[in-house]
């Protein structure tokens, strides 16, 4: 009896300590974000003296100012436009390519696939200088199209790999049935393969959307003119120009981070699955 209560209290203490440890780390994870939002609700005068987490009179007009004056409204729409078009491009190209790699026989198939996979290995620092020169020659630098094409290319290899692995495991009987019913190859891709691949497509969409939204370096080297910039580059430019306008900067940061946080919370199942599966594949 005595022994069991001893083990009981010991277990409770251990659990308590573990929770304490986990919670303290969790707080450090969330706290900077709360501080960011809190700072965005203060004014230029109070932000340097007021260390409260809940400002007494929150100044929501910072968001209006950042959206209008800081131009974050425009950058926000730019980011949305780039993210949507890049993700759309990646989904169309990578699912077609992955389906072809998985189902068809054509000369040079293995070589092509290896080339796509090798592209995954090349680190970005080794490639962005030639990319810059190439885009210059093609007159695609400082254009939305140039950026979108580059970003589609960045996301392609991993997406093709994920989708091909899925298609390889998918039973062929359904496609055979569709073919007997007179479906064309493209029709099978659209009516059979894509709907079945929905769970993988969700991972592809979420991961690429996050990476485009958060992308910085390519946007930095491609865009010179402000009206074309996505949020990340615009934030850095804003910070460089108005170094002390912290409330507006924090409002801009909140505008940038909020969509990501919302998407993350809604899609966390797919994101966590994607990370763990990606790791096991690697």
């Amino acid at each position: 009896m005595k022994a069991s209560t001893y083990y009981g209290t010991k277990k409770v203490t251990v659990n308590l300590l573990i929770h304490l440890f986990l919670i303290s780390i969790a707080i450090t994870c969330i706290f900077p974000l709360i501080w960011m939002v809190a700072s965005s609700l203060k004014t230029q005068e109070t932000i340097f003296s007021d260390a409260s987490l809940l400002p007494r009179n929150p100044h929501f007009e910072n968001y209006y100012l950042a959206w209008q004056e800081g131009g974050f409204g425009r950058y926000f729409l730019n980011s949305i436009f780039y993210t949507v078009s890049v993700v759309l491009g990646i989904v169309v190209v990578s699912s077609l390519a992955a389906y072809a790699f998985s189902r068809f026989r054509f000369p040079g198939k293995n070589l092509l696939f290896v080339m796509f996979m090798a592209a995954m290995m090349i680190p970005i620092p080794g490639s962005f200088v030639p990319l810059y020169v190439l885009l210059n020659k093609l007159h695609l630098r400082n254009t939305s199209l140039g950026y979108i094409l580059c970003m589609i290319n960045v996301g392609l290899s991993t997406s093709i790999f994920l989708l091909k692995t899925f298609f390889d495991k998918m039973p062929k009987e359904l496609e055979d049935a569709a073919r007997i019913d007179g479906c064309s190859k493209l029709g099978i891709w659209w009516h059979v393969a894509l709907p079945l691949a929905k769970p993988v497509l969700a991972v592809v969409v979420v991961f690429n959307a996050l990476s485009v939204w958060n992308e910085y370096v390519l946007a930095l080297i491609i865009f010179d003119s402000k009206p074309l910039m996505p949020l990340q580059v615009a934030l850095m430019a804003f910070q460089g120009e108005f170094i002390t306008r912290y409330p507006l900067l924090m409002a801009g940061l909140t505008i940038t981070a909020l969509p990501i946080i919302i998407v993350y919370i809604l899609m966390q199942k797919y994101i966590i699955k994607g990370v763990t599966e990606g790791a096991i594949v690697g």
Binding site: I18, H19, L33, P125, G126, Y216
Partner: protein
């Protein structure tokens, strides 16, 4: 290069040990497990620009929250210009980098820990092993391949990290947080020496690929043993 190596070293040790401890703490019948998992992976999904600028504001030398708190706790001598003091800038950047990155390691370690069959632990318990022996003789040996994978990802990710550094210090003070990628960007945009920048980029890329190749061979060896 040295700076990138230093950040990588901190990321490899501090960040991954933290990630492993958290994963190990989460790998049991515990309430709020999913909640922790969601929270710990929050920093990695945020962009480096956002993370860098928020931390820069917290660590600001004059008005930053950290110094404010240190003053209030009576530790005013510890308060300093974290990001523009050459003696602390690099370590501060490395710690923020670890803050942003440990969620990856955590998720991968947790996934790895959950593949260890529970029967192994039960069998060891029956044979009279205590928690520490279980941990040392079962958990650690089975986690070696996962740890190597996390190490590869950490090294590759950290050597290429630079957006966070641009957002926090811009490479300063006096190049104390300069990393290879920043140098490449500087030769390209600052002085328009494209050939030189390209050569830097390719040699750096080759170094990275060599590192990952060595680690890959090493991990295959470890797996066979």
């Amino acid at each position: 290069m040295w700076q990138a190596g230093y950040i990588t070293l901190i990321a490899l040790t501090f960040q991954n040990v933290l990630a492993f401890l958290l994963a190990w703490a989460c790998d049991r019948e515990i309430r709020l497990k999913n909640f922790y998992r969601v929270i710990f992976f929050l920093p990695p999904v945020l962009s480096e620009v956002v993370v860098g600028l928020v931390w820069q504001w917290i660590l600001d030398g004059h008005y930053g929250l950290l110094n404010h708190w240190l003053m209030h706790l009576g530790l005013a001598n510890f308060a300093r210009n974290w990001l523009s003091d050459p003696s602390t800038a690099l370590t501060t950047v490395a710690i923020v980098h670890s803050w942003k990155g440990f969620g990856w390691g955590f998720l991968i370690f947790l996934a790895g820990l959950q593949t260890i069959p529970r029967q192994l632990y039960e069998a060891a318990r029956v044979d009279g092993a205590n928690s520490w022996v279980c941990f040392r003789k079962i958990t650690i040996p089975l986690m070696v391949p996962v740890a190597i994978l996390v190490a590869i990802l950490t090294v590759l990710g950290t050597m290429q990290a630079f957006v966070l550094i641009i957002a926090m210090t811009g490479g300063g003070p006096a190049y104390h947080t300069q990393v290879p990628v920043l140098r490449i960007l500087a030769s390209m945009r600052g002085s328009s020496r494209f050939g030189y920048a390209c050569a830097q980029g390719i040699s750096f890329g080759v170094i990275l690929m060599a590192i990952s190749f060595v680690q890959y061979r090493f991990s295959r060896k470890a797996r066979y043993n």
